[in-house]
Subunit: 318 residues, 2 copies
């Protein structure tokens, strides 16, 4: 389901490091070579390349990238080069720093908590502790106020059961609980928070399906009808990420490019964080929903090396 | 800090398996041999022995133990032979099944959440999912009612920062928050639950010290003064386990043996779960607090193979 294209014959990490070093030499940078190397390696390969580069040249690959590249291209390639748990920990930390800008900045926390495997989320929490000298949940609890704090602490603390075990009686019962709380506009009610934060993804999808069947509108529509606060926005994203992550990320890409101007941060985040997860499905959803390919969305709104890099990640040979 | 005595020359897992198999042969069982083998191996060694035994005899070591031994001795040796995360997951599951018997049965959940390393707690959650087809927090959320649910879901969901980083300004501020909520007898207030469930152990110890300095009574005394409900009992245990686990477990052992009759379940749990963690310190605390050695406490209240096994775990050559 990943769109990243790994060549049939992958050069050794030493060769890749040398290609990168040569790309940085002299005036100007060979950006194409950087994209060719880093954009066509999986997470494990990239990790080994950064270690090997450090060993050979006694210099951090990240520092080299920062001194040679700039702008959106630099930000995208740095995010891509981080080990995924470290990348997500840094994205969350950045979001908490920009928390005052509202739910849009906190959305990434919900995405990482609700559209990752339980094991990945634990790895992110581990990376967060190593990088920022406190636990992720501690940082959220001390940075945010109620009711966002309650929802986000619960979401990032989950370690969900990861198999497709579904109890339809529970699904029906809990759909009722959810509906009751949403009807009263109590979006931080324990029923909602504990349900969304502790049940396994398969069970929750069954609950959401029961909800729709029983009450004729979908749970995310009903949440949307509750108003336009940050809690409502984040809870809806949690539901969407649990129900169908590829649909959510297709929407993120769409919103980033539609209309005048581009939201490069969101576009980069969606593509970098999902290229190795479910980008094949996201591309299908995007065409289905918006009658446009992700490639065309990228081409229409970006340019230069940044464009080439994103296209590489979504599997287009450039 | 473990009291388990591993012999200088440890037999191979094959030899240990054979010794066990021979101990089970014929009428009667050679309990001393069982104690000598399993009681003097660390967790990794025990795990390899159970795997080797299964491979050689095509039979589960647990089944053999169950058919040969009985009573408290059997229960203790089974708990000891489980891999520690599996053991703790099973203890919690049992506690949830017996939840209607009140806080005493739920105490083990708090102990595992607050007196384990963050990494061990994650391993317990992983084991819980594998064994019981649901996540630990999901099972607690659906088994218990408020306010216990709120406290216990938060405690087991933590993945605390594990280094000694302390901010004294935060400690002072949060001691104030804790005091305010305790004074109002709001023991499930967000201030208390999030503080106790997300901060690192070192930070919390500093907060508790500030509390005592500022308000002249200790936080656990003030919690005790709030009444005698289950929430109050479990919150107090959380504080004690965070502040000084060895003192808490010395108290568990004491309460299990003092007066008429013995609480074998608590005695077994304290010794089995801590023999490889901090039993050396627990023994020191026990002498300090009660002027009696843990060995004498065991000898006074137990007998036979059960006694010999517990004594072996606390480091007494028998």
């Amino acid at each position: 389901m990943a769109t990243v294209i790994i060549p049939e014959f992958v050069p050794s990490p030493e060769q890749d490091s040398e290609t990168l070093k040569n790309a940085f030499k002299g005036w100007g940078t060979d950006e194409k070579a950087v994209i060719r190397v880093l954009g066509q390696r999986n997470a494990t390969q990239r990790k080994i390349i950064t270690q090997t580069y450090q060993q050979i040249y006694n210099e951090s690959l990240f520092d080299s990238l920062r001194s040679e590249l700039s702008g959106d291209f630099l930000r995208a390639i740095i995010l891509w080069t981080y080990d995924p748990p470290e990348r997500d920990a840094r994205l969350i930390n950045q979001a908490l720093k920009e928390r005052k800008k509202g739910s849009k900045h906190l959305q990434v926390i919900v995405e990482i908590a609700c559209a990752s495997s339980p094991h990945h989320l634990i790895a992110v929490r581990k990376a967060y502790s190593s990088l920022f000298d406190c636990s992720l949940e501690e940082d959220i609890a001390s940075s945010l106020q109620l009711p966002l704090r309650k929802l986000l602490v619960a979401l990032v603390s989950s370690y969900r059961y990861d198999k497709a075990v579904v109890d339809m009686t529970v699904a029906k019962l809990e759909a009722g609980h959810l509906h009751e709380s949403i009807k009263k506009k109590e979006l931080d009610h324990n029923h909602i928070v504990w349900n969304i934060a502790t049940r396994n993804f398969f069970q929750l999808r069954a609950t959401f399906a029961c909800y729709k069947q029983e009450y004729s509108s979908s749970i995310d529509e009903d949440i949307l009808a509750c108003g336009n606060g940050d809690l409502q926005a984040l809870l809806r994203i949690a539901v969407l990420c649990i129900e169908c992550p590829e649909k959510h990320f297709a929407e993120v890409i769409r919103k980033a490019v539609v209309g005048l101007g581009t939201d490069e941060d969101s576009l980069t985040r969606a593509i970098v964080t999902r290229a190795e997860v479910d980008m094949v499905k996201i591309k299908e959803e995007h065409v289905k929903l918006y009658n446009q390919t992700v490639e065309d969305a990228i081409i229409g709104d970006t340019s230069g090396d940044y464009k080439n890099f994103l296209l590489t990640l979504v599997g287009k040979q450039i």
